[in-house]
């Protein structure tokens, strides 16, 4: 079911790319139509996340294929400029689509995870989606400007997804009383994801590993150096930490808008 929704979203994105003639730096769509089978209250909250998020400066309705959608146009340049000025981030902020964040959180929920920890969370959209799905969620972001953005969204939408301004590698996860968590690692393997994930995985105790899942965002695009073991750039890390791949879902992200291959969300466990 969730994989099917993911495939529908990828197809919808392809249709959108064909007809989009705007000039915005980033753009994404969220369906309005009931033809896209997501709980209506959740769909409304996804729209609210976009409308209350200052990275989006324009929106308009558009029929894409047979689906009524809202197109959100945005710009994240100032956050990029801030992150390179302070050198705090391991990877520049480039978000997944809001609906992709929702579907990947939904998939995590279907696997039985109780908590979602969004690492390098940007504007906190994965943690937000996990929260509206009834999971406990935590959003860890090192960049203060982005955490301020998360707090403003959290307040205006009245959904507290627990933003923390912290280095995810040195963060003490034992303070969160996690029982069955899944960590979403922000950033492709080749874009700082490996060092971020390694730093976190090295700090897990054996007991923590028993109950923890890890989700990696991967790519098969030829723009990036492939991993010798594959798995969309994560093979070497997966082998090093003896992780097992549970499943992979493919979803659109901001950085794959002009690409034919979308982002591979690789769900793993120890």
């Amino acid at each position: 079911m969730i994989e099917e929704l993911g495939k529908n979203l990828v197809e919808l994105k392809k249709e959108f790319v064909k007809i989009y003639d705007g000039k915005s730096q980033i753009q994404e769509i969220i369906p309005k139509s009931k033809l896209f089978p997501i709980e209506e209250s959740h769909l409304e909250l996804l729209h609210q996340f976009a409308t209350k998020n200052p990275i989006y400066y324009n929106s308009f309705k558009k029929q894409i294929g047979s689906v009524d959608c809202v197109v959100y146009e945005g710009d994240i340049n100032k956050y990029w400029l801030n992150s390179i000025q302070h050198g705090a981030s391991r990877a520049p902020f480039s978000p997944t689509w809001i609906l992709s964040a929702y579907l990947s959180s939904l998939f995590a929920k279907s696997l039985g995870y109780k908590q979602v920890i969004d690492i390098g969370s940007g504007d906190g959209r994965i943690a937000y989606c996990a929260k509206i799905l009834g999971l406990e969620s935590y959003s860890i972001e090192i960049d203060e400007m982005l955490v301020n953005l998360q707090n403003s969204i959290s307040e205006s939408v009245d959904v507290n997804f627990n933003p923390y301004c912290s280095d995810a590698i040195t963060f003490d996860y034992s303070t969160l009383d996690l029982t069955h968590p899944v960590f979403f690692i922000g950033g492709l393997a080749q874009m700082g994801g490996v060092s971020l994930a390694t730093g976190i995985l090295e700090n897990f105790s054996s007991a923590q590993k028993q109950t923890t899942g890890m989700v990696f965002a991967g790519t098969v695009s030829q723009k990036y150096t492939p991993d010798p073991i594959g798995v969309s750039g994560w093979g070497t890390l997966i082998e090093k930490f003896s992780l097992q791949v549970i499943d992979t879902i493919i979803l659109p992200t901001v950085w794959t808008f002009k690409e034919s291959d979308d982002t591979h969300y690789i769900f793993t466990k120890f």
């Binding site: 400066y57 146009e73 400029l81």
Partner: protein, 145 residues
């Protein structure tokens, strides 16, 4: 098989192309990114040819050897000590200037048009930064020589 004369001719022609690029660099206050990258590629191309042909020239051709020495001198005296530092300085100052402009524009509400206009400046900044990284790689090569 390529004769020694063909090799010599090819080297002469590539060296002339390099000299023209240096002349163009000297005649301009602002080189665009394409011109910068083209100049560095030609310097690297010639430097590789020098390494490859040096051994052959030592045993076979005085004329080629002289041309090689002349070209090495051209790169060292004209490019490494004058043009390259000037380009690096210019890139650094462009980055500073663009960054300052963009930071000063960050506050307040902006129209869709203004945001999309600024996005072009951000693209220019990103391009200039990656060109500087490329130029710095050449700089690193010089310091390891």
């Amino acid at each position: 098989m390529t004769s020694a004369e063909d090799v010599s001719q090819m080297f002469n022609s590539e060296s002339q192309k390099l000299e023209s690029l240096f002349d163009a660099a000297d005649s301009k206050i602002d080189m665009n990114i394409h011109e910068i990258v083209e100049t560095y590629y030609q310097v690297m191309n010639i430097s590789s040819m020098v390494t490859m042909l040096k051994q052959q020239a030592e045993s076979e051709s005085n004329e080629l050897m002289e041309k090689i020495q002349e070209t090495k001198k051209l790169i060292s005296q004209r490019f490494d000590t004058v043009i390259h530092p000037r380009i690096l300085e210019k890139l650094s100052s462009s980055i500073q200037k663009l960054t300052k402009n963009l930071q000063s524009e960050n506050s307040g509400e902006k129209s869709k048009e203004q945001i999309e206009l600024d996005a072009k400046l951000f693209d220019e900044l990103r391009q200039t930064m990656s060109t500087k990284e490329f130029v710095e790689q050449y700089e690193n090569g010089l310091s390891h020589d």
